[in-house]
Amino acid sequence: MEQTEAWEKMMDTVRDPHPALRERRDAGEKVVGYFCSYVPVELIHAAGAVPVRMLQGPAPGDVAGAYMQPFCCSFARSLLEGLGNGTYDYLSAVVMPHTCDTIRNLSDLVETAAPGLRVMRLMVPTTVHTPEAVDFMVEELAALRPDLEGVTGNEAGGADLRESIRLYNRCRSALDGLREAGPGNRRLYAAYLALQLTGPEEFLDMMGRVEAGGTEAGTRRVAVIGGPVPQLEVFDLLEEYGMRVVWDDLCTASRFAAGMVAEDGEPLRALAERYLGRCPCPTKLDPANRREQELIAGIGESGAEGVVFAQQAFCEFHSFDYPGLKERLDAEGIPSVRLDLEHPFQPTGQMRTRLQALSEILGEGM
């Protein structure tokens, strides 16, 4: 297959994953949606279902408007819209974790907006750094497992779960390798998203067909931090201003792929330890200020010269973290700009002005 064709196939998967997932449903596979990077995909996969992250929903419309106030983030509103209007009609079930207050309440609204869809909850603790939080997460995973098994009729324990853990670890390694090779913003972030929008086998197959290097663009090295950024257009926009993303802390990219699950030991505990042990998302407690430390370390190691905050408009958790992180960056002499993202993504004049300013500042240092 031609290189560009292989990449295009991956881009198509990311842009519109729904037709392929409908085909898989029609072929008898079970597709299970999940709402955030704290849901262990390995458990869904081990039960024999295709784990698919809830991304790429439609523009919020009548369904979202009937259930959610406009001051809720458009990411959540878009997902509810999609669940209510049939965009995700291939799903057998969704796993909804407790992350932010919006997603928590959304899990109740989904039951009304998408009647018939099986909604499973995963009560991810807010405290993630204590032994009792890990114990609690293990209990939650143990409670989730039979629910997933009920969807597929397959057991999700023992050898199957270990195999799923190994498979996803391979996927994470492949993403690490791709980042090292520097394929450019669009291809790198398409690969991260592709893993979340299809099964691990299909992902590894796609990764085997694409060539990693060669299209690195942009000379201004930046780090991007925020929540879910499923639109490749965001990365295109950065490239338009000469920016190459050399490090990120996004839950649809590095935070999703960070850290391996231990392949020995008790699998549920290994999952709990990996998922809670990552650098915490802003919805989690961070008493040691680990997120800020890792940001500064990541910038240092990657050679990023500037930072782009790419966060969902109305996201309270990222908004709380923003002033402290910005202050720290200012103190370190690292310029930054903030983009408030709405779904669907439209580059606004304000975003362009801010990126232009950052681009000019970074250009001066060259």
């Binding site: 106030q69 807010t126 309270e316 709380f320």
Partner: protein, 413 residues
């Protein structure tokens, strides 16, 4: 009615215990502010967090949310919010949090800010916003922060959630032992918990007096009268205060004294008050002969089920199952129950920009309320302490229309 009679009637309808409450709260804030810089520990704590351990360890609890309500009611919160916004905090964040951060920086507000904490206690049973807010405070004041993580409860409380909650209650006590240098005294804690429970039971009885027609108070009065149960439950003076308030309410019922000159309609209120607008809304409802007889907010501090044999375990269960930590189905049950018990004609829901866990789901709850009770519901848009998000003319028009037209059609004369 002559002017003289009007004044006399107003005086007769006035709740006399309000003065005692004001005195108690002045004494409380005076003592708290006076303790700043002394050896006495001061803890800032969220409204839904277990305060009983603090009382048992002789720590002064201070409530930024209660202070936020004061700042809102005195129309001072917007300027405090603007201070936080100037530091980069988004206008979309909770206005209690923004105002509190602003007040911590400037010592602004009606009482010149809160006394500096020696440590902080946050419990996310009311929302997850509070732990972000308290993390900011911990950084700002550079003091220890204890976090009580309460998993969300859907349906019945599951055993592993109860176990997790209990482990943290035990850690909370250990944290207090370490910070105060005093050992945990279970008999004393049980006594505090019993007082808390007793005050809570009295508060529940006070609220229940509003089942009577005419109602002896509105929920706007309850919003004010709840300050002691939020801030000082577990102390004898709070027990005494609510006993006095209950006696007064019973006497009012006996004498047929309603809080409004005329009560034509009875409504249920959902969500935190619009603190800066209480006076105007109160006048409007009085003019419309409409009494807000019950609400989902003040009853959050009516606890049940403290087991003297297992005080920590039972308290940890109570704090995990508060109103904002349960799913919509259970909320709908509670709203239906309130509507039935208080014989309401409809419901007003405050869609509160500052409180997503309270507000997200209201569109569904409103429909469910009408489906279950046959009564109408109105949703108004506001923010609990940021008046910049409030359109008075629009809200008043909608309330007027709701009462005059919708209730006028559905409630028999």
């Amino acid at each position: 009615m002559s002017e003289g009679n009007g004044k006399a009637d107003k005086e007769r309808r006035k709740i006399k215990s309000a003065d005692a409450m004001r005195d108690m709260m002045v004494k409380y804030y005076t003592e708290a502010k006076g303790a700043e810089g002394t050896d006495r520990h001061i803890a800032w704590i969220t409204s839904g967090a277990p305060v009983e351990p603090l009382i048992a360890f002789n720590v002064i609890p201070v409530y930024p949310e209660n202070h936020g309500a004061m700042c809102g009611a005195s129309h001072m919160n917007v300027e405090l919010c603007e201070v936080a916004e100037g530091r980069g905090f988004s206008r979309d964040l909770c206005s209690y949090a923004r105002g509190d951060i602003g007040s911590a920086i400037t010592k602004g507000g009606p009482i010149g800010g809160l006394p500096r904490p020696t440590f902080l206690v946050v419990c996310n049973n009311i929302c997850n916003t509070v732990f972000k807010w308290y993390e900011e405070l911990a950084r700002f004041f550079d003091v220890p922060l204890f976090i009580y993580d309460t998993p969300f409860v859907r349906g019945d409380l599951q055993q592993h959630i109860a176990d997790y909650s209990l482990r943290q209650m035990e850690e909370y006590v250990a944290f207090l032992e370490k910070i105060t240098g005093k050992p945990y005294d279970e008999p004393h804690f049980t006594d505090v918990a019993a007082k808390s429970l007793f005050a809570s039971a009295l508060w529940k009885d006070v609220l229940a007096c509003n089942k009577h027609k005419p109602a002896p108070m509105t929920c706007f009065d309850a919003f004010i009268m709840m300050a002691p149960i939020v801030t000082l439950r577990g102390t004898q003076e709070v027990v005494d205060f609510y006993q006095g308030l209950l006696d007064e309410m019973k006497q009012r019922i006996k004498e047929g004294i309603g809080i409004l000159p005329s009560e034509k309609y009875r409504l249920l209120w959902d969500n935190i008050p619009v603190w800066y607008e209480m006076r105007n809304l109160g006048k409007l409802f009085m003019e419309l002969e409409t009494c807000l007889v019950a609400d989902t907010y003040t009853s959050a501090w009516t606890f049940e089920g403290v087991d003297a044999e297992k005080p920590l375990e039972s308290m940890s269960r109570i704090y995990t199952e508060v109103y904002l930590n349960i799913n919509l189905e259970r909320m709908a049950d509670k709203i239906e129950s309130l509507a039935t018990r208080y014989s309401v004609d409809g419901m007003i829901m405050h869609s509160n920009r500052s409180c997503k866990p309270y507000s997200l789901g209201q569109y569904d709850l409103a429909k469910e309320f009408t489906r279950r009770t046959g009564k109408p519901a109105l949703i108004i848009e506001a923010d609990h302490t940021d008046s910049r998000w409030y359109d008075r003319a629009q809200v008043e028009t909608r309330i007027r229309d709701f009462v005059e037209n919708l209730l006028g059609e559905t409630v028999p004369a």
